[in-house]
Symmetry: C2
Subunit: 736 residues, 2 copies
């Protein structure tokens, strides 16, 4: 809990002067964390409250302090404004650059670098539209993504598993730094324009979080406090989704549901603000020239019939099955990459996958176009003026009125398109498994949605033709007479996209709201919800974890899932260390150990903290002291304080007894002692312990029995215990 270096050491209300000391941080390093460690939420929040109190109390003293206090209160909003502006601008920049790259497509011809693009591709293909997809032609983008990775290992992947872990209180230095931002932005542009089976949506969340983290440095309040910074990052994640899908409300709910760990209501409001600013910045940049934020925005006008829920639920089942299949295969492949030699050649892998993608994608019109365009075409409802192959129906102009066309027989174009889409589906399903997790910035949203949209469109067209040819069937007779427009294949595509995205990520409310914001009609929430619900149930029945959680576990990050209920009947005594036959717990006594004793303990053990007790016999708990604070304080005392030798006694008590004149001077360390460590009894069920760890964000908790200290449970112990009960390897949890 609150360590004593805040002003609780006196135990009283004589705050300000001591707090000043704290703010000036006399011992640099005390109260900070090492890389790949978990933060103590309670301590961080207490520090922020101290800071806030100090500013409030000083604000009455002078006008300048009052201005400081007001500006401090508004700094959060200012920061959100900056994040929104920056995230929106970067998203616009990425869209425009990716477009430009796709148009420009200046690259190198592998058959001979002097050949120009058309020349190089002469042999493979002569049609104009397909010319830049020949396998011999390697665009710059494909080349550079392979090399960009050398600069920033963190710029690859979707980033969401790591961001979830960071938001839960883990420290990965540099993961959200400026170099990551720069490399990620550049490689994202290249990756998106390269035609790989990936999207920019997931990485945009990472980019937005980088913006948030970098902008935090402008304000002391957020720079110095890990908990406050995570609030900002939650909001930045919302802004990222907001620009990725043009869905500010969906973005906030995504951050709340999927990404964030600690999400107070204040953050909800601020996230919403950041998400809105980002969306409007992007809209004013207008990257697609249609004043929409995304390529695949769509507006449907046709109502749907209750019976259509059956195909929608079928799509949900498909989405769930695909999600579960994808997660299993992708994790198996990523594990293979981690454990075999494959992982040593990331650049080669990118090249090979890109080349295979290019070769496989080339013959098929629907895989050749960018995935966003594909989704846009699949979502689209056929109007009179649509020239797409998907809209090549047998036209009967006599019955046509207005923009809505009645149901028609499919023309040859539609049948061709169906075959091509079916092939595209198979290809997308397999290539995405190998693409996600590769060392390129790779979003999962767009490929998942593409798989679902293809499946949905196929089913939609099938339903449409069924209704057209058999409108006298009993199931259609009520609502689908001849010449009526009763089935919208584009809606099926959208429902399929939602189902597949839901199956992979296990999003629920945020998924439906994002899709709702894409369509703009409240009416279509019901189909979307039916599909998302079915998809989640089916996928959950096969495997409980979403793709992000699976990747977190694969990487061994110390992430304590807030959604999963802990359902076993173990007690704190089963989890705590020391175990039954281990040597007793390493403790420090409050007034009888020398500097040397403690240094020995520090050298012989690797624990990150030690309980302090009244005496070894009584085992009555006084407090908890962190290893890092102890090392820094002793080092500092040995350097700066006279008479501190190895035989000096360290006192953690409030008042120290008078010493005999001959003895060496003592070292008082009560200021680094946490006087309010969390304790539970040994009979406490683990479900409650897990709840406490989650809700309060603890790093460790002490275990007592009838008032005597028995042991300790750390977050890592909890995670190992959960892994063990799930029949997984407890040593897969790697970090502290």
């Amino acid at each position: 809990m609150v360590t004593g270096f805040t002003s609780y050491n006196g135990g009283g209300m004589n705050g300000t002067s001591k707090m000043m000391d704290f703010l000036e941080e006399p011992l640099p390093g005390v109260g900070t964390y090492e890389d790949f460690n978990t933060i103590d939420w309670v301590r961080e929040k207490s520090r922020d409250r101290d800071r806030h109190r100090e500013i409030t109390s000083r604000s009455k003293e002078s006008t300048w302090a009052l201005i400081h206090s007001v500006s401090d209160a508004f700094s959060g909003w200012l920061l959100m404004l900056f994040i929104g502006l920056l995230a929106g601008s970067l998203a616009g920049l990425i869209d425009i650059s990716a477009h430009w790259m796709t148009d420009l497509k200046e690259g190198v011809c592998l058959a001979g670098f002097w050949f120009n693009h058309e020349h190089c591709c002469w042999k493979s293909n002569t049609t104009f539209t397909d010319r830049d997809k020949c396998p011999e032609w390697m665009s710059w983008s494909q080349l550079i993504i392979g090399h960009g990775e050398g600069f920033a290992p963190y710029a690859c992947g979707s980033g969401i598993p790591e961001i979830k872990t960071i938001l839960s209180g883990f420290i990965i230095r540099g993961y959200l730094g400026k170099w990551t931002l720069i490399i990620k932005t550049i490689t994202l542009v290249l990756a998106v324009s390269s035609g790989l089976s990936l999207g920019k949506e997931g990485p945009l969340v990472h980019v937005a979080c980088c913006c948030g983290n970098i902008l935090c440095h402008l304000f002391t309040k957020y720079r110095k406090n890990e908990a406050k910074r995570r609030e900002v990052l939650s909001a930045a994640a919302a802004a990222g989704v907001s620009v990725a899908f043009g869905a500010p409300i969906g973005g906030v709910l995504f951050s709340l549901e999927e990404v964030s760990y600690y999400f107070p209501l204040k953050t909800l409001w601020r996230s919403f603000f950041a998400a809105l600013v980002a969306a409007f910045t992007l809209r004013s940049i207008n990257p697609f020239g249609n004043s929409r934020l995304v390529l695949f925005y769509v507006e449907f006008h046709m109502p749907w019939h209750l019976l259509e829920l059956v195909p929608f639920i079928l799509l949900g089942i498909f989405g769930g099955l695909w999600g579960a299949f994808f997660i299993r295969s992708n994790i198996a492949w990523c594990r293979r990459r981690k454990t075999t030699k494959l992982g040593k050649y990331p650049v080669l892998e990118v090249f090979v996958v890109t080349a295979i993608t290019a070769i496989l994608a080339f013959p098929n019109e629907y895989t050749r176009m960018s995935t966003s365009e594909l989704i846009s075409e699949l979502f689209n409802d056929c109007g009179i003026l649509d020239s797409s192959k998907l809209c090549e129906y047998v036209n009967d102009f006599n019955s046509t009125k207005g923009d809505d066309l009645p149901d028609r027989a499919a023309g040859p174009g539609v049948y061709t398109a169906m075959w091509q889409l079916a092939l595209a589906l198979i290809m997308k399903v397999f290539i995405t498994i190998f693409t996600f997790g590769m060392k390129v910035p790779s979003g999962l949203f767009i490929p998942s949605m593409a798989v679902g949209a293809i499946a949905g469109r196929l089913l939609g067209v099938a339903m449409e033709q069924l209704a057209f040819y058999h409108h006298d069937w009993i199931i259609f007779s009520g609502w689908c007479s001849q010449g009526a427009d009763c089935i919208t294949p584009g809606l099926y595509a959208m429902v399929g996209a939602a189902a597949c995205l839901g199956g992979v990520t296990r999003m629920t409310v945020s998924l439906v709201v994002i899709m709702f914001e894409l369509t703009g009609g409240l009416e279509y929430i019901v189909p979307l919800m039916a599909a998302a619900m079915t998809s989640k149930w089916v996928a959950d029945a096969i495997g409980r974890e979403g793709i992000y959680d699976a990747h977190i576990r694969l990487n061994g990050y110390p992430f304590l899932e807030a959604k999963e209920e802990f359902s076993h009947k173990t007690l704190a005594m089963d989890v705590m260390r020391p175990r039954r036959n281990d040597p007793p717990l390493t403790v420090i006594t409050q007034d009888s150990m020398t500097v040397e004793d403690i240094e020995t303990i520090i050298n012989e053990t690797t624990y990150s903290g030690y309980p302090v007790v009244v005496s070894r016999e009584s085992q009555r708990l006084v407090g908890f002291v962190l290893r890092r604070d102890l090392i820094i304080s002793i080092e500092n005392a040995r350097k700066k304080q006279d008479g501190i030798v190895s035989t000096s006694i360290i006192y953690f008590t409030d008042h120290s007894p008078p010493l005999p004149p001959s003895s060496p001077s003592m070292l008082k360390l009560r200021s680094i002692l946490d006087l309010s460590p969390f304790t539970v009894t040994d009979q406490t069920p683990m479900e409650i312990v897990v709840d406490i760890f989650r809700k309060l964000g603890l790093r460790q908790c002490l275990v007592t029995h009838n008032g005597k200290l028995l042991g300790i449970i750390t977050k890592k112990d909890v995670l190992k215990h959960i892994a063990q009960l799930a029949n997984q390897d407890p040593d897969s949890i790697l970090f502290n």
Copy 2:
């Protein structure tokens, strides 16, 4: 924490058989709560987990048990479906009945009951449209609302403060019962059709929560567990707002932001489902005949200009000021009602206020119409075909194209309407203060929105005329040329409504989302957000509490606000009882007290629980036992167990020592002992203690110092402490 009457008494894994005991509840009453008491969230959640575990483990035994397990898992969804259906139907019923009542308006003539309506009103008014508003004519509805209260004291008021309190873990029996539901529904219809300055929106939340609570009785899972039931109520509140405003997403966010206390993500998804079902049920009933869920749905098509943010922010300031003023005045009036004789004549009060409202409302067209209609008219943008007085512009048909009219000079009708609206504003402002809190079901949303909408429309028309006559001014020159349609007064009305509602309730995200769902355009979120943000800041600067929190405090409910940060520097030792000079804490020893000793303690003290220690000397904490459980167990043992007399020793230990043959048989009560009570040290800052109480939902927490039990902090102590620090009367907290 988990009390021992669950199966932790053995401390081991030998669960099922003991759990069966628990499920069958051998001692009825153990583990239940008395009225006006606070529940223990941790215990309730543990019980549910035990139940769930038992069903899961049994599901492997037989097919029947498997079906039971699956149906148990889906019962939550089924319940949500029922709640949605019922809440939607009731909302439709209320709308239709209120409409019918307003049309029918058969009532009684006060001047002589034999006069018919027209006859009765002859003297006051001769025009046809105004006939049923003469003060002599008292409609049935006005009569009955005064009397309906006799049946159900809980049916009055908005209900939201009480629902917030119940959701935070307080028990008010009957508040959500079937009688409340019936009376509230009937009186709501009457109150809405009576023309009082109140809306149906707040009470609809109460109605939906009643539905939720009643439907809980269908499922054991929810009937028997107070924590699970509160999850359902949170979802029901979302359904209530969903039907009140036709805003399912806004409803869920309202429940999350404003009403709920414990809101796990699972509940979010289910709330969304319930809210959607309710909205679609209402839509299929189609009470307004326009396939919209609310009367004041509106679609704007005009963009707004950045400079318009200035008037929008002005409306925000107005809304904030009004909110703060309203809360202060309304609370002062309600306090007066509570403390003076006024409160003894609720029926008379309703009559007087209704009569005054009728008299004052009568001469003014805009107060005479129902408030929803007024809002609808104010939100509406003037088209060519609008015949409303607000749309009487000087028409210039030459420049008119399409449905959007350019800015025009206001005609005489508009000027008249402005005066009438200004008078209506003043009347609404004052009459609402006296109406809210009266003994009728009274929503606050609609009157607040009406005040804001009037102010907004006034400002909007003023801006419009300013822009029309001075389009060469520098502020207008960039965007408002002559003949262009650049200002939408309806949008101003909507922004004003949002600002006033925000000022009164302090909603943020949910307010903006509800308004967004009312307009359907993402574009207007920015003005709404600007106004809502300004309004909240202004109102918060004057007084921190929203109207619901203010009413909770007025009524002395034990509600621990989750949004407010606890910002004082007190420690647990400053709050715990016993205080410095009090007699020591009443404790029970684990193996040395007789039945008589404990009965004496129970009779002499009124505490709801007692800590159990190893011995009085050591003060080492063993567990915590609840007064209620103790009384029931001792009574039961005296009746049913042989040899239990006053000198029998009560053992809370695991193993009891062999007794000498002459001594009376002992009473083992370890099964009712909570072996894992929460403890904090005396040096723990209160901000952390408050956080623990909030996040874990505790009732009490024990305080230790160096492993010795020192005192106890209950939720009531925490609330009293907070009240004291805020310079309020700590004795205003009434319940446990």
